[in-house]
C-alpha cells in the first residue's frame, strides 16, 4: 500500500514536472495586459498601506480582486522587491517589461501551480491507477490552463487548485474543511461565488441536517468558520469604512453584458436574435432605431443596446443563473452524496458561464477542470468531456491572437484531444475485442464519438479555417468582428449542449 502511494506521488510529480518544462519554455511568449495588471497590483500592495489599496488610481489597472488576492500579491511583492525594486515601484514600474519582471512573474505562476498539484493529489489518492493518470493528464496538462495562465497570464491554476482541494475534502466527508476552503477561494476571487448556492445547500443538508442539537452545533461552527474567513478578508476594510469602495471595485456592473470578445454563452444567441429581428423588421418596413450603446461597454441605465428585445440587467442574469442552478440544488437537498459534489459544482459554473453578466471566456476553465474529475467516472461522461473540453479550449483561441503563438495553441489542443482519445479508449476497452485481438489485429474500444459530435468537432476545423484564413484573405480588414462572432456562436452551441447534457445527467 505504501509502495502504491509512493508510486502515485511519483507519477503525479512526473506529470507536473513535464508540464513545468513546457511552462518554462512558454516564458517568452505573448502576454496580455493582465500581466501589467498583476505587476501593478504588486506595486500597489507593496508601496501603499492597506487603507489605500482599493483607492489607488495611478494606473488604469486598479485592484479589483478580493482582499486575499491582494495579500497574496503583497506576499509576492516582497520577493519581487528583492529581485528588482523597479517591479514594485508604483510610478516608474508602469509598463515595465524587463527580463527580470517577466521571469519573476511567470515563475510565480509556475510555482503557485503547486496548489493545483496538491489539489489533484488529494483528489486522486484513492482512485485506481489508470483513472488517476488520466485525471492528472487532463488537469495538470490542461491546455486551457497553459494558455490562460502561462501565456495570457493569470493565476487560475492556483485558485482552481484550492477549489479542487475543497472538493476533495467534501468528497472525503470532511465538510467543515471543504466549506472553509471554499470561503477562502471566494476571498481570493469572487467569480467563484457562482457555486456558493451548491455549497450552501449541500453543507446545510449533508453537514448540519443531523438532528436538532448536533445540527445546530454544526451550523454554528460552520457559520463561525465562514464568517471568520470573511472577517479576516474584509474586516479591516469594514473597520476603515471602505467596504463600499471594495465592493464597487469588485463588481463593476458598468462593464456591460458581454466582454470585448463575446464569451460563447447564451447571450450570444440573444444578441444575434436581436440583430436578426431588427434586420427583418427593418426589411418589413418598420422603423427600428439603431441602438447607440454597445453590449460590451456602457453603464447600466444607459440606453438599451438591444434594438428589439428587452434590455438585460445584471439582476436578470442573476435570476437566470439561480434558476438554472435550482434543479441541481433540489437534487443536492434530496440526496446529498459526496461523490456527486464535483459534478454539481461543475454544473453550477456552467450555468454561471452561460447566463452570467460580463462573462470572460476564461471562466470556462471553472467547469472544465472540475469536470475532468467527473470524466473518468463513466463512458458517457468521458464522451461528454471529450467534446466540452475541446470546445472550451478552442473558444480560448482568440485570446492568443498573435501569429507567434498560433502553432502553440493549435498543437496544445490537438495534443489534448489525442491524449484524451487514447486515454479514454484505453480505459473503456472492449473486453470482447480484447479476447479477439489476435483475429482482429486492432483492439476495439467502447469509447467512440457519435456522428453528430464528430460532425460538430469537424465543424470547428471549418470555423478555424474560415475565421483565420478565408476571412482575412477575401474580406481583409472589413467586418473584423465576424471571425470572433463566428467562433463564439459556434462554441456557444457546444457549451449549451454540454449544459443540457449535464442537467439531464444530474436529473437522471
Amino acid at each position: 500500500m505504501d509502495h502504491r502511494k509512493n508510486d502515485h506521488r511519483l507519477h503525479l510529480l512526473w506529470f507536473f514536472a513535464v508540464s513545468t518544462t513546457i511552462k518554462l519554455l512558454l516564458i517568452p511568449s505573448y502576454r496580455s495586459t493582465d500581466f501589467e495588471v498583476h505587476r501593478n497590483w504588486l506595486a500597489i500592495t507593496h508601496s501603499l498601506p492597506l487603507t489605500k489599496w482599493y483607492f489607488d488610481e495611478t494606473s488604469q489597472w486598479t485592484l479589483d480582486y478580493p482582499p486575499f488576492f491582494a495579500h497574496f500579491e503583497r506576499f509576492l511583492s516582497f520577493f519581487a522587491s528583492l529581485v528588482d525594486p523597479k517591479i514594485v515601484n508604483l510610478h516608474s514600474g508602469l509598463n515595465y517589461a524587463a527580463d527580470s519582471v517577466i521571469y519573476f512573474q511567470r515563475i510565480t505562476v509556475i510555482l503557485s501551480d503547486l496548489s493545483l498539484l496538491f489539489g489533484v493529489y488529494r483528489l486522486t489518492r484513492k482512485v485506481e491507477p489508470l483513472k488517476r493518470n488520466l485525471i492528472c493528464a487532463l488537469v495538470v496538462w490542461s491546455p486551457g490552463l497553459l494558455v490562460v495562465d502561462h501565456v495570457h497570464f493569470q493565476y487560475n491554476g492556483f485558485l482552481l487548485g484550492l477549489l479542487l482541494l475543497s472538493v476533495s475534502f467534501l468528497g472525503d466527508g470532511r465538510d467543515l474543511v471543504g466549506g472553509f476552503l471554499f470561503a477562502v477561494v471566494l476571498c481570493f476571487k469572487h467569480l467563484f461565488a457562482v457555486a456558493a448556492p451548491v455549497y450552501f445547500v449541500y453543507l446545510l443538508r449533508h453537514y448540519c441536517w443531523v438532528g436538532l442539537v448536533t445540527g445546530l452545533r454544526r451550523l454554528v461552527t460552520l457559520g463561525v468558520v465562514v464568517v471568520a474567513v470573511f472577517v479576516a478578508a474584509f474586516g479591516p476594510f469594514v473597520y476603515y469604512g471602505q467596504i463600499q469602495q471594495v465592493i464597487s471595485r469588485m463588481f463593476p456592473f458598468g462593464r456591460g453584458l458581454c466582454h470585448a470578445y463575446w464569451a460563447p454563452n447564451f447571450w450570444v444567441f440573444y444578441i444575434i436574435l436581436d440583430k436578426g429581428l431588427a434586420f427583418t423588421l427593418r426589411k418589413l418596413g418598420f422603423d427600428v432605431q439603431v441602438p447607440s450603446a454597445s453590449f460590451t461597454g456602457g453603464l447600466v441605465g444607459d440606453s438599451s443596446p438591444f434594438a428589439v428585445l428587452p434590455q438585460i440587467t445584471p439582476l436578470t442574469t442573476f435570476v437566470m443563473v439561480l434558476l438554472a442552478i435550482t434543479p441541481c440544488l433540489i437534487k443536492a437537498w434530496r440526496k446529498p452524496q459526496p461523490g456527486l459534489v464535483a459534478r454539481w459544482i461543475a454544473y453550477a459554473y456552467t450555468c454561471g458561464f452561460l447566463f452570467g453578466w460580463h462573462v470572460h471566456e476564461k471562466a470556462s476553465l471553472h467547469f472544465t477542470i472540475p469536470l475532468a474529475i467527473v470524466a473518468v467516472q463513466s463512458l458517457e461522461d468521458a464522451k461528454h468531456y471529450f467534446l466540452v473540453s475541446i470546445v472550451s479550449c478552442y473558444s480560448l483561441f482568440p485570446l492568443l491572437y498573435e501569429p507567434q503563438e498560433y502553432p502553440i495553441k493549435v498543437l496544445l489542443l490537438l495534443l489534448h484531444a489525442m491524449v484524451m482519445w487514447l486515454g479514454f479508449s484505453a480505459q473503456y476497452l472492449d473486453e470482447k475485442g480484447l479476447k479477439n485481438k489476435e483475429k482482429a489485429g486492432e483492439i476495439k474500444s467502447k469509447f467512440e464519438i457519435g456522428c453528430i459530435e464528430k460532425a460538430y468537432l469537424m465543424g470547428l476545423v471549418l470555423v478555424e479555417i474560415v475565421s483565420q484564413f478565408l476571412h482575412p484573405y477575401f474580406l481583409g480588414d472589413r467586418f473584423t468582428f465576424m471571425p470572433l462572432m463566428l467562433i463564439s456562436t459556434y462554441c456557444a452551441v457546444g457549451i449549451m449542449y454540454s449544459w443540457i447534457w449535464q442537467l439531464r445527467k444530474i436529473l437522471a
Binding site: 519554455l25 491507477p129 484505453a426
Partner: protein, 526 residues
Amino acid sequence: MPKKKPVNLPGDGTAALLPVPPMDNWWWLSHKGTTTSFLCISLFALLIRSAVSMFPYSGAGTPPKFGDFEAQRHWMEITTNLPAIDWYRNGTHNDLTYWGLDYPPLTAYQSYIHGILLRVFNPESVSLFSSRGHESYHGKLLMRWTVLSSDALIFFPAALFFVLVYHRNRAKSGVAWHIAMILLNPCLILIDHGHFQYNCISLGLTVGAIAAVLCGSEVLTCVFFSLALSHKQMSAYFAPAFFSHLLGKCLRRKNPILSVLKLGIAVIVTFVIVWWPYLHSVDDFLMVLSRLAPFERGIYEDYVANFWCTTSILIKWKKLFTTPSLKSISLAATVLASLPSMVQQILSPSDEGFLYCLLNSSMAFYMFSFQVHEKSILMPFLAATLLALKIPDHFNHLTYYALFSMFPLLCRDKLLLPYLSLHLLFTLIYHSPGTQITLPKTKASSFSFTSFPGYRFLLRTHFFISLFLHVVYLTIQPPQKYPFLFEALIMILCFSYFVMFAIFTNYTQWTFSSHFRSADKEKKRI
C-alpha cells in the same frame, strides 16, 4: 528484448501484457499501434519545438555579421534573386565573403523554396542587398516556421519509417519510449529551433537511409543518403558505415559486382540530378566543391571537444604543421579510427552492427576530421539515439555530455532557459515512471567495460565536475589572462567522456558480433 527472453512466448510479448493494463503505465499510449503513438508523441515534440522557437536565434541583434540565422536568410536572398549558376560564384550581386553559400546544392534548393515562401509573405526579408541583417517579428516567425515544417515533413516521417522497421519484430513495450527519445532529442531541437539551422533535413534523410537499410531496400538507401550528402557535406560522417555495410552485404550475394554496380548507379544518378546545374563545365563544378571545403578556416573552430582541439592545449598543431599536411594527417587519423568498425561490417554485416558502425564512424569523424564544429556532435548523437534501447545508460550519459559540450555556444545564443528545460524534459522522459521495468537491461551493461571498478567512479567525478562547471561558467568571470578558461575546461571534460564512450561502442560492436554469431550457432543447433 526478444533475444534476452529465455523462453519465447507464442506470438509476441504484447499478448501476455495486455490483460493487465495497469501494470504498464504507458500502455494507454501505445495500445492503438505504433503509428498512433508516434502521432501523439510527434504532436508533443512539435509543441516543444515551436515553444523553443520563440527564444532568440544565433546572432540576434548583433551587427554586422549576425549569425547562422542571417546566413540562412542571406542564402534565401541570394537563391531567390540570382540564377542557380551564380549562387556559388563571387560577383557584383553575390559577395561570398558575407555568408557565402558553403553547403551543397540541395541546401541551396531548400533555401530557394523557403525564400519563395518568405517572398510571398514578407518580401522585404529576402530582397537583394537591402535585406542584409533583416530582423523583424514576421521575418523571424516565417524563418522559424520553415524549420518547423522541414522537421515535420522530413525528419518526422523518416523517424516513423525507422521506428516501424526497427520495431517490426520486437516487443511493443519500449516503442513509445524510443519514439520519444528520437523526437525529443534535445541537441537537435536546440540547434535547429533555437540556434537556427536545418540539420533536421540532412539528418532526416540519413534516418530514412538507415531505415531503408533495415528493411532491405538498398537502392533507396543510396538515394536517401546521396540526398543527405547533397544537403550537408557533414553527412559524410556516416559514409563509412553505409559504404562498409552495403559492401559487406553485396559481397555475400551471388553476383557481388553486379549488386555493387547497381548501387553505384543509384548514387551517381541521384548526384547527377541534384548537381545538374553545376555539371556543365569543370570550372563550375570545382567552384562549388571549393566552397564546400573551407580548409582555410583551420583544423578546428572555437572549443570543440574533439581530439585536435583538446590536444592543442599541449601540442600546437596549427604552428607545428601547415594546413595541407594537417589535412592529410587528420584524414589518416579519421580513416584509422573508423577502420575497425568498417572492417567489422564488411566481414559480418548485420542490422545491429550497422547501427553501431554508424555511431563509431561518426564519432571518429567528430574526433579526428578537419574543421569540426560543436554542432557536429549531432551526427554521433543521432546514431546513439537510434540505439537508445540497446545502450540506455550510455545514451543517457552521452546526451548529457553532448548537450554540455554545446553549453557555451547555447549560452552565447541566450538559450540558457531552453537548455535547462530541455535537459530536464529529457531526464523526465528518460526516467518516465513505469518504463524502468520494461527497459531492457542489455548484456552490454553487465559486461566487463562498465563493471570495471574505476569506471563508475570516473563517471561520477565527471558528473560532479560538470555540475560545478555549469555554475562556474554562469557566475564567475574568467581570469583576464585566460578568457576562455571555462570553455577549455568544459571541452576537456566532454572530450574525455566522448573517448570513453567511443571505446565502449567500438568494443561493443566487435563483441556484439561474436555474441550474435554464437547465438546464431545455437539457434542452428536447435
